[in-house]
């Protein structure tokens, strides 16, 4: 008897700023839509264990997509994208997520993202609070400079290894070897997009002085960061949450910047608490 996963993969085509994107997503569950964004330079397989978590999918419709240019979602099919340097902006990123949710006819989903996915979660809470039931920015901050660097795609080095090993110590040493090496493996696959993603993460994403404009009565914000994250250290997330009226911060012990893929059994404890807090508020 073959062992099949309950997770289903599909494509949906959307238009974003005139770009035709054929978007791949994985889905499992029922109930409140929980839309999940992977980290920069990676893909939706980071959410593989959440997608198969029966306790969560009993009440949540878990949907993890590949952002355009990542995993199985190609660059725009109607443009000569290879003639332009890829630099992701906050505006295009938010339009992509909104268009994707519209295409799937999701009503009032929760949006969760990690790292650059966490930063765009903050952007969504500020600019589109009525479209989302709540956001869960994981490993996020209002401003995260310092990672938009040339080494990620330097032609004289093995970019796949530079990206994968360059993010290695974003993970906690306690996380299981298998899961850390799987995350490393994913990071060997997206080196050409990684730097362009980080244009958003470290340059275009800048909510300094704007956090007071987030209305958590319309869109609750529950932030979570691991103690081994050196890029968005816990104090950065805590400070961000403090500046959001009604913002909530949860510190995750003994985990790093890729909690969902480096140590899901630990991450799920914090995620369940975040979902409980959101359930109380919505």
């Amino acid at each position: 008897m073959a062992k099949h996963s309950p997770v289903i993969g599909r494509y949906v085509t959307i238009d974003v700023d005139g770009c035709e994107y054929k978007v791949f997503y994985l889905r499992n569950g029922q109930g409140i839509p929980l839309v999940c964004q992977h980290t920069a330079g990676c893909h939706n397989h980071q959410w593989r264990d959440l997608l198969e978590d029966a306790e969560v999918t009993e009440n949540y419709d878990v949907i993890a997509y590949d952002l355009a240019r990542h995993g199985k979602s190609d660059p725009p099919l109607n443009r000569e994208w290879w003639k332009e340097e890829y630099k992701l902006t906050a505006d295009h990123y938010m339009k992509f997520i909104n268009a994707f949710c519209d295409a799937l006819e999701l009503r009032n989903p929760i949006f969760m993202g990690s790292s650059f996915g966490g930063n765009v979660a903050l952007q969504l809470a500020l600019h589109h609070p009525d479209r989302y039931r709540a956001v869960i920015p994981v490993e996020a901050a209002h401003y995260a400079p310092g990672f938009y660097i040339d080494w990620w795609r330097h032609p004289h080095a093995n970019a796949a290894q530079v990206c994968a090993s360059g993010v290695w110590d974003l993970m906690a040493p306690q996380s299981p070897d298998m899961d850390r090496w799987l995350t490393w493996h994913y990071y060997t696959q997206g080196s050409e997009t990684f730097k362009g993603d980080l244009y958003f993460y470290s340059v275009d994403h800048d909510l300094r002085g704007k956090l007071g404009g987030i209305d958590t009565s319309r869109c609750p914000v529950v932030m979570m960061t691991g103690t081994y994250d050196y890029l968005t250290p816990p104090e950065a997330t805590e400070e961000t949450a403090r500046q959001i009226p009604g913002g909530i911060y949860i510190e995750m012990e003994d985990i790093g910047h890729f909690p969902m893929s480096e140590n899901y059994p630990l991450f799920r404890n914090y995620l369940k608490e975040a979902l409980r807090l959101i359930d109380e508020r919505s």
């Binding site: 360059g166 110590d169 081994y228 050196y230 890029l231």
Partner: protein, 129 residues
């Protein structure tokens, strides 16, 4: 009392040369680097994935490709079996602690995968400071 640099060099060579993760991609792991631990320094020369030599008393004119420099305290933190946050890697310690990375960064990047695996061997064998 920390172990002698000489004893450390023997342990490190043995651990590195027998590490299966390094061996799996060892073929072009060739570089020469300095580890400045404040109270001790070494220059490790790697050739095709094996430790070719360890200079345990580097002079001021001895060449290297790139260097890691940090306090003895930081190196001791690196060598804990489970390091505390921000002492768990060269990026974390250079972003948040006193680790300085100097020299030719390109050669570090070209050997990054294996160098990081090798750096974490300190958790098993310790440091001579």
């Amino acid at each position: 009392m920390p172990m002698s640099v000489r004893d450390w060099a023997v342990k490190f060579s043995d651990a590195s040369d027998n590490d299966p993760t390094i061996a799996a991609m060892a073929k072009y792991f060739t570089c020469k680097y300095l580890w400045d631990m404040e109270d001790a320094s070494v220059i490790v020369e790697m050739v095709d994935g094996k430790v070719y030599s360890i200079n345990i008393d580097p002079g001021p004119m001895d060449p290297w490709d790139f260097a890691l420099r940090a306090s003895a305290h930081t190196w001791r933190e690196f060598s804990r079996p489970v390091p505390k946050p921000m002492y768990h890697g060269i990026y974390s310690a250079s972003f948040r602690k006193d680790l300085k990375i100097e020299g030719n960064h390109l050669i570090l990047m070209q050997n990054l995968r294996n160098f990081i695996v090798q750096f974490e061997l300190l958790r098993k064998i310790g440091v001579p400071v």
